[in-house]
């Protein structure tokens, strides 16, 4: 069975990914809206508040009891950043009909619950319940502050903030603490009405039910969704490279230093840069892993990520404070090696197989499928994993090196210890 994409209502699309091999089915509803410094926090808060209760299940006790009774169905609220789009909504997972005792079917019931979470939140005097807003706002503030707790995540976010300051990509998916603290119940409700009526809604289903049955269930569940003046998706703007390298250093009471390096990609040859990044630091067979870690023993991890829509590559590593310069130099040396095509055939074939393996495996996981197709929908792309794999298969070496020659160091972030700072 092939995937299908259907328009259910203005700005509402359903992607059906039929599969019989899983124990569960997945149903997802995601609002896609531009990521902005101003609205990131309020967008992030919204699904958390909606998840607190509906008119039929007005509190967590009744809502969670209903989920338990649907054989432990899960409905999680999600807040994701896809390029410069902000995706907020719910992902539901429930056991496939084949494993439900008796003749009970869960799809319609879960779809209905999802519809209620979106269209029928519990309100009082035309507002969300203040106690829900307050407690979820406090949780959001804690979450934003908590990014600090994992120093690797923290350093990766700080690098993007420094590199893309003034660009939406530098905004955290949860927004800023200052913005989060100031969200009023009024602003939240206004955001809600705007989101449900005017922003793109992407729906995904993966499981054994026929697409017609899924469509019916969702049309029913979302029958009261107001749709008017739906705004088109905004596209991500490529990072503007810096003339000079920007360096930021922070000191904290930590035992390990974190080095982050951000590069801008002049080329827009996406498959070539993807291959180039895999060779550089995208796998455990990459130049960074084999040299910075295995050969020089400078770190436990050193890896790179290619940010396709934004035209960036970021490197992240954990090192001893005093090894800053050695690690920095070695990372640049390895980039140069990729740019000059200094590598063995096995490295090229290995990188190619790593990517092909990754694309081939997407269909084996409902979570990966949903995440992949959401990324595509949110950025206006239409390739399937197989089409992307084909581009990688056809890629010739020269194209990779040429594309990588456009990669230039842009921003450096270093987190060091307190003593080292003095």
């Amino acid at each position: 069975m092939e995937e299908t994409r259907t328009k259910l209502a203005p700005g509402v699309y359903l992607t059906c990914l039929p599969a019989r091999k899983f124990k569960t089915s997945l149903l997802s509803a995601q609002f896609v809206t531009p990521l902005t410094e101003e609205n990131a926090a309020v967008n992030a808060l919204l699904p958390a508040v909606l998840r607190r209760g509906t008119m039929q299940y007005p509190d967590m006790t009744s809502l969670n009891a209903q989920l338990d009774n649907l054989y432990g169905a899960q409905v999680d609220y999600t807040v994701r950043k896809k390029a410069e789009s902000h995706c907020v909504g719910f992902v539901a997972s429930f056991i496939d009909d084949a494993f439900v005792p008796g003749k009970e079917t869960l799809l319609e019931k879960v779809a209905s619950l999802l519809g209620q979470l979106i269209c029928e939140p519990v309100t009082r005097n035309g507002r969300f319940l203040p106690e829900y807003v307050e407690s979820e706002r406090a949780n959001l503030v804690d979450t934003i502050r908590g990014i600090l707790n994992d120093k690797r995540d923290y350093a990766e976010l700080r690098l993007l903030q420094e590199m893309c300051c003034g660009e939406p990509y530098g905004v955290s998916r949860f927004g800023s603490e200052q913005r989060a603290e100031k969200i009023s119940a009024q602003k939240l409700y206004a955001t809600y009405t705007d989101l449900i009526s005017s922003t793109r809604l992407e729906l995904f289903y993966c499981g054994s039910a026929a697409p017609e049955r899924v469509q019916d269930a969702l049309l029913n569940a979302l029958s009261t969704l107001p749709r008017e003046n739906v705004r088109p998706l905004t596209l991500t703007e490529v990072h503007t490279p810096r003339g000079e390298i920007k360096t930021t250093t922070e000191a904290m009471d930590v035992t390990q230093g974190k080095l982050g390096m951000g590069f801008s990609c002049g080329s827009d040859d996406f498959p070539a840069l993807l291959m180039g990044n895999t060779l550089f630091g995208g796998s455990s067979n990459s130049k960074l892993f084999l040299n910075v870690r295995e050969k020089l023993s400078l770190c436990y991890y050193a890896s790179s990520i290619y940010h396709r829509q934004k035209g960036l590559i970021t490197v992240s590593s954990g090192i001893e404070f005093e090894n800053y310069q050695r690690a920095y130099d070695e990372i640049l040396t390895q980039l140069k090696a990729v740019q000059e095509g200094k590598m063995d055939d096995w490295e090229l074939e290995g990188a190619r197989s790593t990517l092909l393996n990754a694309y081939a495996s997407i269909g084996d996981s409902q979570v990966k499928l949903e995440n992949f197709y959401l990324g595509q929908a949110a950025t206006g792309q239409e390739e399937t994993p197989e089409e992307l794999a084909e581009q990688i298969r056809r890629m010739d070496d020269k194209r990779i090196f040429e594309a990588m020659q456009s990669v230039k160091l842009d921003t450096v972030y270093f987190l060091k210890g307190k003593e080292a700072a003095e």
């Binding site: 569960t24 338990d68 908590g146 067979n285």
Partner: protein
Amino acid sequence: MKETFYERIGESALREVLPNGLMVCVVPKPDFANKYAFFATRYGGMDVRFQKDGAWLNTPAGIAHYLEHKMFDTKEGNALQELAKNGAEPNAFTSNAMTGYYFDSTDHFEENLKILLSFVSIPYFTDESVAKEQGIIGQEIRMIEDNPDWQIYNRMMHAMYQNNAGRISVAGSIESIKEITAQTLYDCHKAFYTPSNMILTVVGDVDPVHIVDLARSVLPREGGAVIPRDYGEEPAAVGEKETTTKMEVSCPQFLVGYKCTPAQDGEDFLRRQLLGDFACDLLLGESSPLYLRLYEQGLINGTFGSSFEMLPGMAYLYAGGDSKDAKTVVAEIQKEVDRVIREGLDEAYYQQVRRASFGSMLRDLNSFENIAVSLTEGYFHGYDTLRFPQVFDTIEKEDVTAFLKENLTEEHTVLSQILPRA
């Protein structure tokens, strides 16, 4: 091979014990592109004292983990590169009681499996290569030392257990790993990486007969003797009631641990595991009255979670997350335990959570890694994990209250806290 069909979960498993004592287990997964192999030894961070040639041997903390890192070295270079050519990225982990090596791949699976089996079974170390690894593992230790989740857990274990070697950090310390030499690694490999102490699990669309033939041709013909291990005599009492430290975190975090009675190997071990997990869901799960009350009072947030763990000679239930008032949370948990013991569990609530727990166990079968790791744990403890629905059926309401009464007492409680540095 002997095939067992598990009707209630729609899975089957084929098993065979080779003449050298290796257990081979294959779980067929038609329709999936990915294939997953997991090769594990019953040897982990807690196996530091054991008998070799009739004499007791003490080895440095962190040695099993160090050995795991060094197993990737081969006479020809590094197994990572061998597998890289086929796009497979092998990886490994060491836990308290096992070390497992794994990869997944869509293509060249049997070829990759052959490489995996040979690099794990043929050690190749030099003093130089062993010394070089100290830099890498040293950075891994530094990384986890800066991780509050690890700190709070490690401190809880040290407070709860006085002697059992399961309290030792799997990675060891910067000091302890300095004592590791090529010779100690060879000794440990010889003792524990013998087919009779290992299991190979393959999940995916493979030919089971080929897998068995491959294991037979690559691995040694003979297995080794059973290795007596000494984990230390552990009293029932906890070591310390409380432990607190300060770190660079955004808000206070806590873990409360309850030292429980350990179980014997066999199906009782599985039953106790399911009972402990079920007790967590009923007492502390997201639809429990206690969770909902504490969440609404702002005493816990979405980071709160609970778990029940079992290791040789150890069993403990623990729960925690962010909280501004951990002591009140601990007191509230104790009050709720006392109430449940006094009043019993509400029948409707009990049935609701029972359904949900079954659904969540079934969901875990979506992951090949989960299947392989839990089959391995089951094999090491003498039970068949895929029989969980039948064993879960034997658990009754009174078993849960009896479990709580025996284990969740004030005297078995340990509180570990991390406070933000002012």
